[in-house]
Symmetry: C2
Subunit: 410 residues, 2 copies
């Protein structure tokens, strides 16, 4: 049985957090100097375990075993959100490294090839899930040509050139080469903590359906236009927000979530009745019928709001991600390992966030493990997890990896 080294694991996690250290978290945007330094450091560590390391044309870092046998990819993404936490992504990346080491040090695991991986730009600085999508062949060159940084607007092509990746080929999945993919991640919610569990066995990753909803009213003077004749697009947006808050709970699933992340009123002046209101809205669920039901109800509510407020409404679906179910046998392997190391302290649960596993899962059998987030906090520099949980998660994933690779070899 592979035995991970808790001290080395924690020390590497802390070392990795020095790349772009920010308060108690990190600021390591994709292709920044800190991000590329962290990727080169990873490649060195992979080499030191006896793996063949390379950074591909979008910055994915692979550590490939010198083995004829099919290997198990283990990793996550290396970059961070802006001024965010030290574990989001990094946890799964360093688990991959530590498990590769543990296997290399365990004589009877010698022939079981672990391939650690660090994906690029899961966090959408340029293109959401860019690295894993590139790996499964889901990114055209034209999409890379068009992409710009969401914060400073500079082209992705320039960033890749700056990072020294302009003429490096992108690595594509070869299904015959890999058994599958395992990813560990912090939960980023409070479900584990609230139920006093320490390991989440991810059953599925939610589908995210995104919308841009625009109401067109009549822009006019806020002093001289009588209330009776107003068509206020901002009031329409508020009306819809409240209608959603009232109706969605009646038709949603038990874990459905929905969010209006942005409301923009135009022209946005104190003394002008808004003529236009745009809402960025999304909902998530792990079941397709629930997503379709929410979509239908949203359409009805937008129409009702338009009639009620006298505003014209446009609704555009900007994303309809399918939920993705994790591989049942991989889930079972994680669950068995969790039952051994944390009896009674694990639970099956869907993931409310996107992860590279949902992309890789399209081509390779995949599964995920969650460790708790203290206070449910993530995407913030105060994000954290207890050391004991960090260690436990890695050991459980290592055991699961062994089970999967042994199953493969028989």
């Amino acid at each position: 049985m592979p035995k991970i080294n808790p001290g080395r694991l924690l020390s590497d996690l802390r070392r990795f957090a020095q790349f772009g250290a920010y308060r108690t978290g990190v600021h390591r945007p994709t292709y920044s100097k800190e991000d590329m330094d962290s990727r080169r450091w990873l490649a060195q560590q992979y080499e030191a375990v006896g793996l063949q390391a390379h950074i591909d044309g979008v910055g994915n870092v692979f550590g490939m075993p010198h083995s004829e046998r099919r290997s198990l990819l283990i990793g996550s993404h290396a970059e961070s959100q802006n001024h965010a936490g030290w574990l989001d992504g990094a946890l799964g990346v360093i688990y991959g490294l530590e498990i590769a080491r543990a296997f290399a040090e365990t004589p009877d695991c010698f022939g079981l090839p672990i391939a650690p991986v660090a994906w690029a730009d899961e966090e959408s600085h340029y293109i959401p899930l860019l690295g894993s999508r590139s790996f499964v062949g889901d990114i055209e060159e034209a999409e890379i040509d068009r992409a710009v940084n969401v914060d400073h607007g500079l082209p992705l092509r320039d960033a890749l050139r700056e990072a020294g990746l302009a003429s490096v080929p992108r690595s594509l999945v070869e299904p015959g080469r890999h058994v599958g993919y395992l990813e560990a991640h912090i939960e980023q919610g409070d479900a584990l903590e609230a139920s006093r569990k320490r390991i989440g066995v991810v059953t599925s990753i939610v589908g995210i359906w995104q919308y841009s909803i625009v109401f067109y009213g009549i822009q006019n003077h806020a002093g001289t236009t009588r209330m009776a004749i107003r068509k206020d697009a901002g009031v329409a947006a508020a009306t819809l927000t409240m209608a959603i808050a009232e109706r969605f709970p009646e038709v949603a699933g038990p874990r459905s979530v929905w969010t209006t992340g942005r409301i923009t009123l135009e022209p946005g002046a104190r003394n002008i009745i808004p003529g236009k209101a745009e809402m960025l809205f999304q909902f998530r669920d792990s079941e397709m019928p629930v997503l379709e039901r929410l979509d239908a109800v949203l359409g009805e509510l937008v129409e009702e709001t338009a009639i009620k407020t006298g505003c014209r409404a446009d609704i555009e679906r900007t994303g309809t991600g399918k939920p993705w179910h994790m591989d049942p046998a991989f889930q079972a392997a994680i669950e068995t390992a969790a039952a051994l190391h944390a009896p009674g302290a694990y639970v099956r649960m869907p993931s409310g966030a996107s992860h590279d596993a949902q992309v890789v899962g399209r081509k390779l059998r995949s599964a995920m493990l969650f460790v708790p987030s203290i206070g449910g906090i993530s995407h913030h520099w105060t994000e954290n997890t207890n050391d004991a949980d960090l260690v436990l998660g890695c050991q459980v994933l290592a055991d699961a990896a062994e089970t999967i690779l042994r199953g493969e070899s028989t």
Copy 2:
């Protein structure tokens, strides 16, 4: 009786609209080249009527009669909103010029001194009602030092230097020198048109109470944070907007208006639950007790919303303008003239918009006349008024001016 010249009036209005012509409207921001050209043109016209013209240190243009008797100021503001209408401000300015000419041409009006005036920056490119506030002594040098342009952020001091006004003194009201102030303006609403009236006799100018209302929720991941534990600041803003829409009609006056002009959610990302929501809110009424009642109810609703949504709320009053009642004798003079020239087609009404008359009114007896806005449209380049109404309004104001000045002389 002074007889205005309709052809000359319309021709001057159209000439004035060439300064910064934009589609069928104008773009003539305060202290822009077009604005300063228009002010210099006005000064020339004032001189041509035999008045002593000068442009003061904030750009106000005065045409002062060579007379020992107290004169009647007549005017409005010369600049426009950005890419807006040709009559907003310009109407009252050109009325002042035409009435000065009509009096100069009418032998028995000879001794009745008309002082046309064009105020600067009523439209808030730098400081709302800057010109008239400067005239009544309500602007300190420090406020001018601090002010910047709302669009491009350049300092007011630089704009004044550029306009050649840096070392020109600001003219201050000398109450013994003026009988009072008359201002004509387009209505900027549809009340006249809807009731088929052609002249509005303004009874009062509303007080505008402005608020910045901020809700603080908990910013978190839009996928992993369960609905049950969310504190969504955006939902709080929508809740308040709807609560206002429901409760305000019960306590408002018949002409009260209220508007949420802007809602800003932070961080404003699709996939993050807003941790902060800021609303710019205002209401207007011409009666102080109504304003105070709305203020009290708003405070209650903000508190109720905070309790209901679990968000903390801050409410700040950023403006509490007093409503201003027009001089009764001046109103009567306008009404009598309207009854003569437009029998049955005039009405007393409050002004829902701010005007220089509410500022000048603090020091001099003041009154206002409205002409209809086609479709109630203003602050837009399609703003317009029928020629017949443009002419009528000027004749009514001229008659009212005569009545006021004759009353003064007896």
